[in-house]
Amino acid sequence: MAGTGKAHLRDDQNVLLRVEDLVVEFPIGRTGLKVNAVSGISFDVLKGETLGIVGESGCGKSTTGRAIMQLPSPTSGSIMFDGTELTSLSGEAMREARTKIQMIFQDPISSLNPRRNVRDIVLEPLSIWNRGTKAEQLATVDKILEHVGIDPQRAAESKPHQFSGGQCQRISIARSLVLNPQMIICDEPVSALDVSVQAQVVNLLEDLKKEFELTLVFIAHDLAVVKNISDRIAVMYLGKICEVSSSDDLYRNPAHPYTEVLLSSIPVPDPTVAVKKVSVDGEPPSPVSPPAGCRFNPRCPNASDRCRSEEPTLREIEPGHFVACHHPLTGGEAPVTVRSN
């Protein structure tokens, strides 16, 4: 399948998660049409690494994150986690495997049951899996609550609505940590928070990552936040990956026209910097009938005829920097591929 490519996958002992040709489609009622939420993407994450996934709303970031957890399971593709193929696991085995990967969601308030008390919410994973005695469970919970900066005493007496958004997000993080997972998928964990609280949560994640030896997948639409926390970034557009690179490199040398748009959309907190106007017009096209060729072509300033017919493949333009574009901003034109048949 063109337009995707796997040039960027690494052949490393240390790969914890390796996703190949992931496709997720949602049928629309009984119309026979489908939403192409994710259309054949591949990526890998090394142990201890943080992979950032950025892209506009609706480009399939959350769907990718959820597909890794098999919630719901993808239409096709392979997901190898720590040597296990997740897509082939049975219900019960998957239920167990999920405990090694945890997810944190965007809306800190709706991800906590409003009627349960906070300590109980954090305890739930342990009580599902019967880890240790009740006293041991409570001790673990309290320790982790302390860790994320929530007073266990208060947690024992309070419901989620008695905490602020940032605190609710900390509680979610605590819940995801109690089972000692290897990897945490953070789906826009800070998008709903104040800038000042956002910084606290990002710092907390960085600290916990070191302490608990975690691997992170960090999803967001704000490249500035993602850049800060990630080692490597994958830029998504309409169900495809368009650029993969180390985070500093991506900012210094964006190669894909869409990456450049994303970068220039970030408001610069400095009034003397004239607002750059690389912003594109319009919305991304509908994922029900994505455009042929490069999916970005209707909005791309560099689009050529080739872009409208041939889908670009990820290729390496610099060591560790991959782009799927025929006419990237750096790294030269894509070589013309001659079809063998």
């Binding site: 919630l71 239920r95 709706s110 739930e124 994973p125 599902i128 602020s164 819940r175």
Partner: protein
């Protein structure tokens, strides 16, 4: 909610909401009625079936007096004690009906809202079918076909409550089933059963519990209606039956209004209390999910 309006909650925000005096008054009334319903035979009440003919007062019905607080009907039976005994069947029918309706309708609703898919389509269709019958007609139809005892009448009324209860339960479940906390529970390995019991039910049960009280009020009224039309429990005293006796001929209602009035008053106060208490309960348990 999609924005940042997450106002930090100050440490000491726990301010107890109050149910209020009205609520407790209603609960007391309902409690009293339930007590009477259960213990009527051992309470020092006059026999509800005995005739208290009093030659000095001529032909019954007798108006309320010291010896018969609510008067007597035209067979000289004591209206007060009959109204008390009436609570027995009326409340039992109401309670059984709504319990049956909740057990069946509630679980159907929660299950179809949670699992969606074909289960949902089938049960939703069932609800619509049930709802599209005029309920009184359906009730009369069913009760005229069967042996009308306490259980069957209750079950018929219970059947009628399945659809509205089920639909509410389904709607409430749908509202929560896609919330991220359900997803979060699933990813920590909770089974569907556990999710339904621990995550969905607590959220659905509270709005439903107030509906239970309101539903019981409806069932009590419906039983009254059936009894009034002569389609309720054949043997025994119910409020509806008493009201019907008290108003069977326009003369009766005009000349001796107390025969119907007191059962109506009891029915009215009970239904009012159920409604009021249910309503208060709903607002009381309305947890805030965010602080503004």
């Amino acid at each position: 909610m999609s924005t940042t309006s997450v106002t930090p909650a100050p440490e000491d925000t726990i301010v107890r909401k109050k149910l209020g005096f009205g609520f407790w008054l209603c609960v007391t009334w309902i409690g009293l009625m339930a007590f009477i319903a259960i213990f009527a035979p051992v309470l020092p009440l006059k026999s509800p079936t005995a005739n208290f003919l009093d030659s000095a007062r001529g032909r019954p019905p007798y108006a309320p007096s010291w010896s018969h607080w609510f008067g007597t009907d035209k067979d000289a039976r004591d209206v007060f004690s009959r109204s008390m005994y009436g609570a027995r069947i009326s409340l039992t029918v109401g309670f059984t009906a709504i319990t049956a309706g909740f057990l069946i309708g509630g679980s159907l609703g929660v299950i179809s809202g949670y699992y969606k898919g074909w289960i949902d389509r089938v049960s939703s269709f069932g609800f619509i079918v049930l709802l599209s019958f005029p309920s009184l007609v359906l009730a009369i139809l069913l009760t005229s076909l069967i042996d009308r005892n306490l259980l069957t009448v209750s079950l018929v009324l219970g059947l009628l409550s399945i659809a509205p209860v089920g639909r509410l339960a389904r709607a409430a479940t749908l509202q929560y089933a896609d919330r991220e906390f359900v997803l979060a529970a699933r990813q920590i390995g909770a089974t569907n059963r556990r999710i339904i019991i621990k995550e969905i039910l607590p959220n659905v049960a509270i709005p439903m519990s107030s509906l239970a009280l309101l539903g019981m009020a409806v069932a009590v009224v419906a039983e009254g209606g059936l009894a009034f039309l002569g389609f309720s429990v054949q043997k025994g005293i119910t409020w509806g039956g008493l009201i019907q006796l008290g108003s069977d001929a326009s003369k009766t209602l005009q000349d001796s209004p107390w025969i119907a009035f007191f059962p109506i008053l009891m029915l009215f106060l009970t239904v009012l209390s159920l409604n009021f208490a249910g309503d208060r309960l709903r607002t009381f348990f309305d947890v805030k999910e965010t602080t503004l």
